[in-house]
Symmetry: C2
Subunit: 158 residues, 2 copies
């Protein structure tokens, strides 16, 4: 009698999974949901969402030249069709500034504002510690393994 898998116990599922692929898919959703919520709890204490944090990091990485709106969308970790409104909220909070691009007036150049940089600087150590606490119990080899497996899964998404 093989013991029920951990994920199976967690969701109190009585029947076996139809396939290991299904079980892995469910484990992936559940695990990421937990990770995302912890992340979210930390960031929301500072008044921003995970997606907003991601935008701020992208803009910090881009430096003072900034980036056009849709270029930000392409760099997002999670797809964000509502990028305009995401930026609206960040601009509203004074964390980001926007300006219509003079050479191509269709584009809007977005830049991180000083309060945005300050906020990120304050968050950096907290987020580092969080990453570590969430994933740091894996060895370096396991992390590499995980990265490899996730790469393969993404490769399978048309």
């Amino acid at each position: 009698m093989t013991p029920a898998s951990r994920i199976q116990q967690e969701i109190k599922q009585t029947r076996p999974f139809r396939s290991t692929a299904q079980e892995a898919g469910i484990a992936l959703l559940r695990t990421t949901d937990q990770v995302r919520r912890r992340m979210s709890a930390v960031l929301e204490a500072e008044g921003i969402t995970v997606q907003q944090y991601n935008v701020l990091r992208i803009l910090r990485g881009a430096g003072p030249e900034g980036l056009p709106t849709l270029e930000i969308a392409e760099r997002m970790i999670e797809q964000a069709p509502g990028i305009t409104r995401l930026l609206d909220r960040l601009e509203g909070k004074g964390l980001v500034s926007r300006e219509r691009c003079p050479t191509d007036r269709r584009q809007v150049t977005c830049r991180i504002a000083k309060p945005g940089l300050t906020l990120l600087a304050a968050l950096d150590p907290i987020v580092d510690a969080l990453d570590d606490s969430m994933l740091g119990n894996l060895t370096r080899t396991e992390l590499k393994q995980l990265l490899h497996l996730l790469d393969r899964i993404r490769a399978a998404q048309a």
Copy 2:
């Protein structure tokens, strides 16, 4: 010169990650986002969301006795504080029926309705195929490895 990691190229990040733990966290979020969206696209063609699908599967598993509302919430793959409204929508579509429990009138017993069963039956082969197409390119060993790593990550969430 080590080549930039795959995930790093995908999000066009120029600087290296601060830690492998961070890189793995980002890969986890991105991979799951993609998986969830594919799932979502299939289910939304049938008019339900991923969360609603999850509720229907839980209720099918519970059989004709049904389950009280909060018991469903506990079995969800992804946490769902809005379980009441989730059920409202499913009931509105006629996929679920609810009834106040006679022995404990605080509880509401939820059951899957016949149209819900029909819908799930139609979705089963489609979802099976999808799981397979998303994760089936991993070997059985890799899937086990992935499950193990994800278990360890969940164990690290307080």
